[in-house]
Symmetry: C2
Subunit: 264 residues, 2 copies
DNA sequence: CGGGAGCTTGAGGGAAGTCAACCGGGGTGG
DNA sequence: CCACCCCGGTTGACTTCCCTCAAGCTCCCG
């Protein structure tokens, strides 16, 4: 996280005056924050010890008094039926806020678990609410909540109306965009999801996930190797999944990055 | 919706000084708004002509430059697959904002249709953003977005991990709470959803919705009569649906109502 | 070397989908 | 004013996608 200034091209010096664990996360991404607001945010957070893989960041019904922002690693939100069937409602990637709703609600109505080792920074609820008096920060929270919502709406479309292979393809397309791996074919990224976790995200059994993966492999749409996934034909994968990246509103994110850094 | 002042006990007269179409809607509910903020909101909205049943309030991909708040009637948000399979991602009841995300995004990534005749008020995006400088209004928007999110997460659990009858039961429980019909058994409310719309909300075919309704009827969990539904055994219905009202955060709404009106 | 986590395979079953009718009622146009 | 039509609901027969159950396999790690 300690990043040295000389790795970054000479632009926009003032914006670089500090180096925050939040640098480059989605919290800063939408481009809604002034330099002052970024500093204020940065001053309010505390960096936590890394959290082990497969451990609980929070349990269902738990009282949580701080926002947790993932800065590294993968995690997920989930809910379970009384019989113990689990549905993942969000995959949390670096930059995501794990529990934005804690801003307004006292108790979680879901649980949070890590997938890989995960580092988070936390922002006490009270300070977050105070910071939300900065219009840019308030708008950033709102923006993040709305994107969460857009993603979840697509998941609902997948869960309710798509076949296993379509759901899987759609999820992979979503992840490739959210992770910011290039649009070109032959996308490739670390993929720490077990088939069990995939099943719980896609509303399928692990066994059916396995068979669906085989189908995708045999059609040349994915290749996996040691927790890495390759998408050799993103165009066709998007067709299969019925994926249109528009809903992720990554464009505004790109635009913001460009405006702030003059790069990328 | 036509509420006359003399139905309301003599309390908190100042809070009643104006009568807004927003009165009693979820926009005012969380209790986050000062009297001044309510006035500001009220001054920014315009009441629209009632919209016919089964008509489009907005299409997918459409540019929308105002928030639309449902004040009467039922509507829904939906998305479709390329083959035309439709999934409803939200049922919009009086008080709901149909397109909160228009606050931040230019184009919808869903469509909005009415179910019954619907009246809406609209709030131009620019004015909404300006109003969001009031902390209470900003927090109200955030609150509404977060509740939307909580509801959608439960829908994902239903769609991914519950049987037809469980999904149906859960939806009915959710609606009974959101509509504010009493907790007691023998809840009863107008129910304008066709089996087709229900199917699109629950991720089922109309035919299977029909059979599921028959099952619920035969088990004495619902009774229908001319677009009205009766839930004769809400306790068992909640058991069947695995429903816990906590996630709707209606409590804070009740608390707010109590604080403002001293009633209910 | 044993054990567990994650992956793979096969056989059989079941919940929900598909296809194809039919019904009943309310609106409408001839 | 009646006939017609269309929408929404209902029913039956058949299909299918995905689930369940039950193993066995392959790593990796202690």
């Amino acid at each position: 996280m300690e990043q040295s200034v000389h790795h970054i091209p000479f632009v926009s010096r003032t914006a670089l005056r500090f180096s925050s664990p939040l640098q480059g996360t989605r919290l800063f991404d939408p481009g809604l924050l002034s330099h002052e607001e970024k500093c204020a945010l940065d001053g309010a957070i505390t960096l936590k010890e890394p959290i082990k893989p497969h451990s609980y960041l929070a349990r269902e019904e738990q009282r949580v008094d701080a926002l947790h922002i993932v800065t590294d690693g993968w995690a997920f939100r989930y809910a379970t039926t009384k019989e113990g069937r689990r549905q993942i409602s969000a995959l949390l990637l670096p930059g995501d806020i794990a529990n934005l709703d804690s801003l307004m609600f006292d108790e979680l109505d879901y649980g949070i678990r890590t997938i890989t080792e995960t580092t988070i920074v936390s922002l006490p609820k009270e300070r977050a609410l105070a910071l939300a008096r900065h219009p840019g920060i308030a708008r950033t929270f709102t923006w993040l909540g709305l994107v969460d919502n857009a993603i979840l709406s697509r998941w609902a479309l997948s869960l309710g109306r798509k076949s296993a292979i379509e759901r899987f393809a759609h999820l992979l397309c979503e992840l490739s965009v959210r992770l910011g791996v290039g649009d070109g074919n032959d996308s490739c990224f670390a993929f720490p999801l077990t088939q069990e976790v995939l099943g719980d995200a896609l509303g399928l059994t692990t066994i059916h996930v396995n068979r669906t993966m085989q189908q995708l492999r045999s059609e040349g749409l994915i290749a996996t190797d040691n927790r890495t996934i390759i998408l050799p034909n993103l165009v066709r994968l998007r067709e299969v999944g019925g994926f249109d990246p528009h809903y992720l509103h990554a464009a505004s994110r790109e635009r913001a990055l460009q405006a702030v850094w003059g790069i990328r």
